[in-house]
Symmetry: C2
Subunit: 227 residues, 2 copies
């Protein structure tokens, strides 16, 4: 049986690196899609290239799409500061409107061209419950829509959107990744990492990641700038 | 009551110009989104700018996203010819994988930033029944997903995806547009229009459009290259 193609949304962060390792362990030929949407933390895109190579991806593609045209997020509008003060009430200002929908739509396009029936995404509902597009109901609704949107609907095939981390804690994700050989020092999670990929240590993403390593009982390999 | 914002997907073609006129007639402040995805018929993007201005849009934004990276369509891969021979069996080669899903996702992002609860799209199931992403089931599934994807899901507002042309014939669309004052000479439907926006007259899109004007009993204002 030939190896089945899958499209993996790979940001360059901890979660999506874990998802790539998981998809590889399940035998998929992994085509990694990264989105350069004008995010502050651009070094995550370099991390995506490194992670794809290290984890044996079949290919990696960075698509350019300037979401700063719309703004509306601390990650795409320089005038909105990245919060460092702990949990927001409601939806965090780092939420990028419709970002996961846009990224999954691009993955859907590539999957259709590749003839891939599987898309993997590293969303997580536990630590990011404030992001509406990280919840199981959303992922299922996207999958339903995707199966009506494409050749699958006409030709009777079935596309699956896998979100294997969705119910895991950050510590569980880290333990899973370590068991699969992920080198987390290659990944960048920080929303305001410096040009060398060093993390600030204080933004929401850094705090969640750091706490995850602590809870997992694993030494945190993240390079920090020393805040 | 302040005017409500809406996002209109505006390709520069006949259908989306009609949709813009319709949304304007319903009193919406119309923010028009066009996608430069590397399509052959690039002059449709210039048409989108003209149509938005003529029909009183509040704004028009052309987003760049290179779908030729994925290919898989006669519109995004120069190696696949645009068909001129009449109806295909199954999905036409001019189908662009997941294009409507990507465009609606971008509209969703902009709508969320604008605080718009309405998105308009000119898809049509009658003349393009071969495109999976032009059917009512698909549009409803996208709307369901969109309402789980965004602030709407958390804050209890409701987003509507309007596809007012979905059940109309091309002739009905043209009669509707004429009644709303649309100048169709500004629009470009041809898949291989020349640099001046003149239509080939023989591709699937031209044939549908031309037959629509005939059936509507309206003089076809389209400039043709003279095939």
């Amino acid at each position: 049986m030939p190896t089945a193609n899958a499209v993996i949304l790979l940001s360059g962060g901890l979660d999506s690196a874990t998802v790539l390792a998981l998809a590889r362990s399940r035998g998929f030929s992994c085509h990694c899609l990264s989105l350069d949407y004008g995010q502050r933390h651009r070094v995550e895109l370099e991390a995506a290239v490194r992670v794809a190579a290290r984890l044996g991806a079949a290919g990696q593609c960075t698509v350019q799409l300037d979401l700063t045209r719309f703004g509306g997020s601390a990650l795409t509008d320089a005038a909105i500061a990245v919060p460092t003060g702990g949990a927001d009430v409601g939806i965090p200002v780092t939420y990028v409107p419709a970002r996961n929908t846009i990224m999954l739509s691009l993955a859907l396009a590539w999957a259709e061209v590749l003839g891939a029936a599987d898309i993997f995404v590293g969303v997580n509902a536990v630590d990011y419950s404030g992001y509406p597009d990280c919840r199981p109901d959303y992922i299922r609704a996207f999958e339903t829509m995707a199966n009506l949107a494409t050749r699958a609907a006409v030709e009777g095939t079935r596309l699956t959107v896998h979100a294997p981390l969705i119910e895991l804690s950050k510590a569980e994700i880290i333990r899973l990744g370590i068991s699969l050989g992920v080198d987390y020092s290659l990944t960048v999670s920080c929303y305001q990492a410096d040009a060398l990929g060093r993390a600030c240590g204080v933004c929401d993403s850094c705090r969640l990641r750091r706490a995850g390593f602590e809870a997992a009982g694993v030494i945190d390999p993240t390079p920090y700038t020393g805040h």
